[in-house]
């Protein structure tokens, strides 16, 4: 049983707010991923939870107890550092057993536990090497082993995969996920890679400028981004956002903008209307939520093909029209006949339409 709770947590560095009043509840056994662009305050938040950095405002609760003034050694957490931070003068075995030796475990217990962990991480043949004699991937596993060797209340991981090459990263990603699920230890994981976040976390916390933009499951984050930042940060390519206004057409109301002509449902309108009045708003949809449909001219999105990227299993077609631009995801067969400059029309899945305020960028949830 280990939970964590952040209440109005803030960190100020001489005048500038690195972390700005964060609220978050982390349930027992949860895998929470903090994701956001560089400098958004992810590491600072993690280091405050670890006790390496003092909060300048707000509260940290670990297991229901206030932890702000508890020293790192008494918080019973384990951390994997972005740069591994292995003790260079100790062997792999000594690195692994450091925490146990500090806790006065018996020689026999330490040996047993080190062997266990080394086996689970494929480190057994390396136990007598120094960190300088290991490859990047091996060092990474030692850092991981040092964290899991004593079952702590919380795992904290600060971009542990950022130093690995692409292939090893995918492999280790799966390994960490498997390990976390089997140990069931509450984990907070920091990354700036949204793919990593989406594949690993139960709950994803998107941060920007020191604030939480949205904390949700990967599905919710993808389907219902809370604002335009999340919409564009999560997903590759990001969600398409097109500028438009509400206008009457043939007795109905449509969203109209450069290349946009989409009828809006009546139920949606009742929510949308009061929020945006006659002003501009953004309409959003994912690249896979539109299909090429030459007959959709007055009932979807249109524009001319600008860039065509073939990825083998799929193609991404960038389409431009005036101030608006969007990307369509399609099969390579459908993309094959398209030439640059071709006029293209797409129909949009009405269930997947999202709306955002043009001024604040906040999502407007409609039924």
């Amino acid at each position: 049983m280990s939970t964590a709770r952040l209440e109005q947590l803030s960190k100020q560095y001489d005048g500038h707010l690195a972390v700005d009043r964060i609220n978050l509840d982390i349930a027992d056994g949860e895998f929470v991923v903090f994701v956001g662009p560089s400098g958004c305050g992810k590491s600072t938040t993690l280091r405050m939870i670890a006790g390496l950095e003092r909060a300048t405002g707000g509260e940290i609760w670990i297991d229901g107890k206030p932890a702000n003034h508890v020293s790192p050694r008494d918080r019973d957490i384990a951390m994997v550092f972005q740069n591994y931070a292995l003790y260079p003068h100790m062997t792999v075995a000594q690195n692994l057993s450091y925490a146990l030796r500090l806790r006065n475990w018996s020689r026999a217990d330490i040996d047993r536990r080190v062997t266990e962990v080394a086996r689970s991480l494929d480190l057994a043949p390396l136990l007598h090497r120094k960190p300088s004699q290991l490859s990047g991937g091996q060092r990474q596993r030692v850092a991981l082993g040092r964290a899991i060797i004593r079952e702590p209340k919380l795992f904290l991981m600060d971009e542990p995969l950022s130093n690995l090459d692409a292939k090893l990263r995918v492999q280790t990603r799966a390994e960490i996920t498997r390990l976390q699920r089997s140990l069931g230890i509450t984990t907070i994981y920091v990354t700036h890679d949204q793919t990593e976040a989406m594949t690993m976390g139960n709950k994803i916390v998107v941060m920007n400028g020191g604030r939480i933009q949205q904390a949700d499951t990967p599905q919710q984050l993808y389907q219902h981004p809370a604002n335009t930042f999340v919409a564009q940060f999560i997903g590759t390519p990001p969600m398409n956002l097109l500028r438009c206004r509400l206008e009457p057409q043939d007795g109905a109301i449509v969203a109209r903008g450069a290349g946009v002509n989409i009828p809006i449902r009546l139920e949606s309108l009742t929510v949308l209307r009061p929020k945006i009045r006659d002003g501009e708003f953004l309409i959003g949809f994912r690249p896979e939520d539109i299909v090429m449909d030459p007959g959709a001219a007055g009932n979807g999105v249109t524009g001319s093909a600008d860039v065509i990227e073939g990825l083998g299993h799929e193609s991404l077609v960038s389409v431009k029209e005036g101030e608006n631009a969007f990307i369509a995801r399609m099969s390579p067969e459908n993309a094959a006949p398209i030439r640059l400059g071709d006029r293209l029309s797409f129909s949009v899945n009405p269930d997947r339409l999202r709306f955002f305020s043009a001024e604040s960028g906040e999502a407007i949830r409609v039924p």
Binding site: A50, G51, L52, S71, P72, R73, R75, I77, A78, M79, F81, Q82, N83, Y84, A85, L86, Y87, P88, H89, Y98, A99, L102, R103, K130, P131, S132, Q133, L134, G136, R139, R146, S162, N163
Partner: protein, 292 residues
């Protein structure tokens, strides 16, 4: 030659030859430089075992003469107070080196790791102390020491050396501590060690090369120091070797064989300390710990 397999024989042969010539030239240069560095010590030793009559033979003999005398090495301890001076020097130099390294380590660690009011100013002060020539400091210190009764004593001399060397030791060690990634200490704190425990288990072992070179530096400075030693200590019984050695040169005659014998003996302790510490003077102790 790997990337030029088609090179004709003549061409392939020529670069090899010039490479060998280059190596030889380099080796010769190194040998010459070594010889220049070692020669004074060699000359010192050779002179010390030369019979007094042949000291000023011209042209000077490079090789030890056939009838070398080693008796000076025994008689010098009987004829002079060299033994006492050596013992004094050992105590002062060891005391200075130990205390300067220890105090310096504590100061350097706080300067490197903690943020506090006046940290930058302290660093400036440390640098500023290096800008005064020793003689400028010696005068006021002499007055001060005479008032508080520290003159003519070995502890007093050690205190004077500490005043000179603690700032240097601090600056030296700070650079070393700065080179040890903070993340290692943070990892140790999280693993369950205290601040002090972390210092002794992580920081100290990793800064051994720095401590060893600082220790050596302070030892050698204190061992060789003359100006302060000769000003602050007047009683021959409390002299250090540098002052003792200087006292050999008389008004009319200087017994060169004795001087050189004493000089040879005096270099030994410093050499021993160096040999003892050199295994710690290795680089790259922190390799592999952190990345990025």
């Amino acid at each position: 030659m790997r990337n030029a397999p088609s090179a004709r024989h003549g061409e392939a042969f020529l670069p090899n030859l010039s490479r060998i010539a280059g190596r030889l030239a380099l080796a010769a240069l190194i040998l010459i430089l070594c010889a220049i560095a070692v020669f004074p010590f060699y000359w010192m030793f050779v002179t010390s075992i030369r019979p007094s009559g042949q000291l000023f033979a011209y042209p000077p003999e490079m090789l030890p003469s056939a009838n070398s005398v080693f008796s000076t090495y025994v008689t010098i301890f009987q004829d002079t107070a060299l033994g006492t001076w050596l013992w004094n020097s050992i105590r002062v130099a060891l005391g200075t080196a130990i205390l300067a390294s220890f105090i310096g380590a504590m100061m350097a660690y706080s300067l490197s790791r903690f943020r506090f009011q006046g940290r930058g100013f302290t660093e400036y002060l440390l640098l500023a102390t290096q800008m005064f020539p020793g003689i400028l400091l010696a005068m006021p210190m002499y007055v001060l020491f005479s008032k508080i009764g520290l003159l003519n004593s070995l502890p007093g001399l050690t205190v004077a050396y500490l005043a000179l060397l603690v700032p240097v030791a601090t600056s030296l060690l700070k650079t070393f501590f700065d080179g040890i990634p903070v993340a290692l200490e943070e990892a140790s704190l999280i693993d369950g060690a205290s601040r002090i425990g972390t210092f002794f288990r992580i920081t100290l072992p990793l800064s051994l090369p720095g401590l060893a070179s600082t220790f050596l530096f302070c030892f050698i400075i204190a061992w060789d120091e003359y100006l302060f030693a000769q000003m602050f200590v007047r009683q021959p019984g409390n002299w250090t070797v540098s002052v003792g050695l200087a006292s050999f040169s008389g008004e009319y005659v200087t017994p060169w064989d004795q001087v050189m014998t004493a000089a040879t003996i005096v270099t030994l302790p410093a050499a021993i300390v160096f040999l003892f510490l050199q295994r710690y003077l290795v680089h790259g102790l922190t390799a592999g710990g952190v990345k990025g």
